[in-house]
Symmetry: C2
């Protein structure tokens, strides 16, 4: 009896019935078998050791796969529990899931003290146990046996979990001396875990309910190689220094205020200058790419969002309504419905298309207060938004145009590493999860795929993750220290034109629905500036710097000349200030360094007499004395170079 | 027995007790007596013929005075009633007040038909009666006599009005054969009314309640000179052509949508282009004047508006709250509270002042739906807002700076006629209507007055109309056809710094409160663009035109060259399009004329061969053939000239 296994590249192989994913890995190569951590069988993650009884799609998961990592960390949580059990035999375990970076376990230490001082001891014990190469073994257990076990050892938490489960579906896993209720899956053995860092601890209530007992949550992270842990810890240390909340405060870029409200940033003048620079740049770029600008209010009647479908489907991400003249008004969570109304306001012909409506529209979304995080998770967001209305023939070239914008922006911001996640539909779910327009799906997905390949874009295709109304692309970028940020989303939309009854007259004089592309390559000001602060560690490039230079007169005698220089610079839209404080020049330079000001122009008797400035760059480079006009040319060239 | 009369210039004269305002007028000059219409006695408007029994302040009112006009129109309403009574003896009169432009009377024609065809007949009769120079005579009547009179003639409306009045305070007026319940005052006689236009009629419910009987409302306007009526009718005709709602639709500048909501304009790409041009210009001007830009969300918690005092005092002009996480959030009706929070976010020293925070902030105000009017009365408004925080020593120069901005803008927009209404406090109302800081009031009002005079600003001073927290200036401008628009308000504020606990450290190292100036010289985009559309009759100056030029290829062969020219122009931020329709050039020119496009560039074989364009200006002027580079220089010079 054989079963037929289909691999991700589409190749098919036969194996004896009851073979495991590890058998498949070994049949491909021994090296692969050494590195594989788990397997995806028909879309579900399994242990490598589970017998496969029927034909199946199979994908082997390694460390670099998202599910590989999370299986690795889940198994590491079991390893941590095993270590705790050895060190604190009366500890009771509750839950221990993997998270974005590592894992945690919530433990009731049952009166025994466990504090920050004990983290190192725990780490050492985990390393010692990991070296034993203990296999993770899976066993089915009846509900009664499971309940009896936890009653016997007196773990009321696990008992509560068991009671919620269905008999016949309960499994336990064992590794070394640790035995745990768990649905898995796990990596083959603890030997894969070579590097461990127990990070921190925190209090956490059982089941998140503050009426319950407080448990000790222990965070940790593990890696298959020591070098990866070192790199991670270095990145975390660097990220701490580059924390946009810390830099935003130090550089006076933004603030929050209790009386204004959480998640609603107030932008101080330095932040305002960055926003202006970004908008001027975006508008120029969009203008050259043929966009036109529209402007819409931040509210609309309920009727608009019922038409768009945001109500009721998106209601919980929206702010609650205001009742006015017997009608409900909502803050906009997206600009699209307003733009569609603008498109529909006047009749359109095929000659008017493509139409590209751009707006820096501020949207409001309800995020739970616990989820708010600096500029990265906010309630008000200024979006670099635009909607492109085009014919099917124009779609490919329009979509390429959007990608070209992305690539241009990546270059300008020095983003070397990015990935686009191209989410497609599942034909089996047409009419349910996806709008039932099969040809449109196939056609637009083909076009998108073709453009991505032809433009040499780094992308992965993710089936069954499209939006309801069309395929989408999520753009993930990596900061200079390698942290991942989801910056923007691009969506194709063939549903809204219908809902808003948008049409154009084609060259055969018939009504036709336009295709719509939603795009926001520069994300929101909030998320982009948050990212850039980390990416540049606060040392923004010249064109984005709130103050591009400080003029430092060496004494009061040169204030007038300094102001004259500043006024001249202003005419060229160069942003600067004169530091007129009665401080030594050395102190003025140090302060400008702290503020990350790109240029310092030192002026005294010689400079005034010769009409020059002595130029020092941030970081210390000395450009010497320059005619003011030459400096202007220098700085304008620099800005031009940075934004091209 | 004499009484002492004080005239507006402060001069005092004695008259016999019982003298009338007409006696006073005659004592000054016969010419004045011929033109005077009514008088203000101790702030109350009186008939010229009423006997004055005590010492009094007296102001003679003529046609050019606001109250002179409204008395004139009120008397004209009586004249219209007299004419109706002659033509339709069974008509019943209700109320007939003056309005902004003319007056109306609501009449129950009691079954007799009165339609649009009858307006001319009514006008003729009014002119005939006016010529009789019938005097308006005042008589006190007891409540019983008044009620008996209206019972007898069967006018239930006036009877209802009489019943609401207090016995002893009821007066009737007679002119010619018309006798009317009226508290006056009136002009001396009908002979002043030389020019009459009965404009239109409409339905109106008695007391505005649709459960009551529908009456006929007849609108009319009158003047003391025929030439003034002619000028008025010409202006109205011109205003109709220049109606910003009509032009806004024809030129595709803005639109409203039922599903978005009333009073919430959607700006089409042409409107978006005008807004961009205005903002770029304003930001450049403000940047050169030392403003910095901030950015704030459109909502805030209730707490912010309680602190600012908007709640509860301004609550009915605000949108209703949204309930979120157990807190109330409001849409902002003004930007000041947010800006004050930004000021307060970091410590300030006297060296940081003056600080000028500018933001094009969109505010939301609740206007009743019946009061909404095109762009002039809206619910969402994009304000050219800024707040200046300064020391007392800096106030005068800062206030002058704001005035300089106004004068610059008047010049740029070709506004030849304007007036600033300078509203001051009343010392008797300190602590009630006005914040109780007497020295601050006197000091800032003196400074404002001095700046207004020194800058040669055309202003009038209006006592007892200041804001609660400081003196203010309302700026009224007149469009090219002489219609008045209230564009902007400037306010001095010495209360908010206290409420928000804003301070700076002065040079003696003490805490001090800043003075605050609120200013918005370019008003809101909505109001300014509405005004400019009328002012320019839609023919916007080059720098504001949504499309600055159309390129008109004489055949398809020159499309490519046209696009090349357009791309070159775009690099200089010049806005244009290529008219690629398969139409004759004549038709393309006509269409560009209708769209008020400033330049048309005609290109054909010769132009392509020589690298030139044939330039035609809106209105027909032919600039002949120019090298494309020369045309760019020409148009950029033009824009520069317009905005300097």
């Amino acid at each position: 009896m054989t079963i037929n296994i289909t691999l991700p590249d589409g190749s098919k192989r036969d194996y004896p019935k009851g073979s495991t994913a590890m058998d498949v890995a070994k049949s491909i190569s021994e090296g692969l078998a050494r590195n594989v951590l788990a397997a995806k069988i028909n879309g579900e993650v399994w242990d490598l050791s589970r017998a496969i009884e029927n034909d199946a799609d199979l994908q082997l998961l390694k460390w670099d796969d998202k599910e590989g990592k999370s299986t690795f960390w889940h198994s590491s949580a079991h390893l941590m529990a095993e270590a705790i059990q050895e060190l604190y035999p009366t500890a009771k375990f509750t839950i221990g899931p993997p998270i974005d970076n590592g894992f945690y376990y919530d433990v009731d230490f049952n009166g025994e003290g466990f504090g920050a001082d004990d983290l190192q001891k725990l780490e050492t014990k985990m390393l010692e146990l990991a070296k034993k190469d203990s296999a993770f073994l899976r066993a089915s257990v009846s509900k009664k046996d499971a309940a009896d076990y936890y009653s016997k050892i007196g773990n009321e938490y696990k008992l509560e979990l068991v009671n919620d489960l269905t008999d016949g579906e309960i499994t336990f896993y064992t590794q070394g001396g640790f035995y745990d209720l768990c649905k898995g899956p796990h990596i083959p053995h603890t030997g894969h875990i070579k590097a461990i860092k127990v990070m921190s601890l925190a209090g956490a209530y059982w089941r998140g309910d503050e009426k319950n007992k407080q448990l000790t949550r222990i965070y940790a992270i593990t890696f298959p190689k020591k070098s990866e842990l070192d790199a991670y810890l270095l990145m975390m240390e660097e990220a701490k220094k580059r924390d946009h909340r810390k830099l935003g405060k130090e550089l006076e870029i933004f603030t929050f205020d209790d009386e204004v409200g959480p998640g609603l940033p107030l932008w101080l003048p330095n932040g305002g200058a960055i926003i202006e620079a970004l908008e001027t740049f975006a508008k120029k770029t969009e203008n050259e790419a043929g966009y036109v600008r529209v402007k819409s209010p931040h509210i609309a009647k309920e009727a608009l969002y019922i038409r768009s479908g945001h109500l009721p489907y998106y209601a919980e991400s929206m702010f609650p309504p205001m009742e006015l003249d017997g009608e409900k008004y909502y803050l906009k969570a997206m600009n699209c419905p307003h733009h569609h109304k603008i498109f529909g306001a006047t009749p359109k012909s095929y000659r008017d298309l493509p139409l590209r409506f751009a707006e820096y529209g501020t949207c409001y979304r309800y995020e739970q207060s616990g989820e708010l995080f600096g500029l990265m998770r906010v309630r008000s967001m200024q979006m670099n938004d635009a909607h492109i209305y085009c014919t099917e023939e124009q779609f490919e070239s329009e979509f390429r145009g959007v990608n070209d914008l992305y690539l241009k922006y990546f270059k300008v911001f020095g983003i070397d590493k990015y990935i686009m996640r191209f989410s497609t539909h599942d034909p089996a779910k047409l009419g349910q999860k996806y709008i039932d327009m099969p040809e449109k799906w196939i056609k637009t997905e083909d076009m998108v795929r073709k453009v991505l390949i032809n433009s040499g874009i780094n992308f992965i295709e993710v089936p069954d993750e499209a939006a309801f109304y069309g395929p989408k692309i999520d753009v993930q970028v990596y900061s200079a220290i390698g942290r991942e940020f989801t910056l923007a989303t691009n969506q194709v939309d063939f549903a809204q034109a219908e809902r808003f009854d948008l049409s154009f007259t084609n060259d055969k004089n018939e009504k036709e629905r336009p295709l719509i592309i939603h795009r926001a390559p520069l994300s929101t000001h909030e998320r982009l500036i948050g990212f850039l602060l980390e990416h540049y560690a606060g040392v923004l490039p010249l064109w984005l710097s709130p103050k591009q230079l400080n003029i430092l007169p060496i004494s009061e005698k040169y204030h007038e000349y300094s102001q004259k220089v500043l006024n001249l610079l202003k005419k060229y839209d160069i942003r600067g200030l004169v530091d007129e404080r009665a401080e030594k020049t050395g102190k003025k330079i140090r302060d400008a360094e702290i503020r990350k000001t790109p240029y310092m122009l030192i002026v005294g008797e010689k400079e005034e007499a010769e009409g020059t400035v002595s130029v020092r760059k941030h970081g210390g480079e000395d450009l010497g004395s320059m005619k003011t006009e030459d400096f202007i040319e220098h700085i304008l060239n620099q800005i031009k170079k940075e934004t091209e």
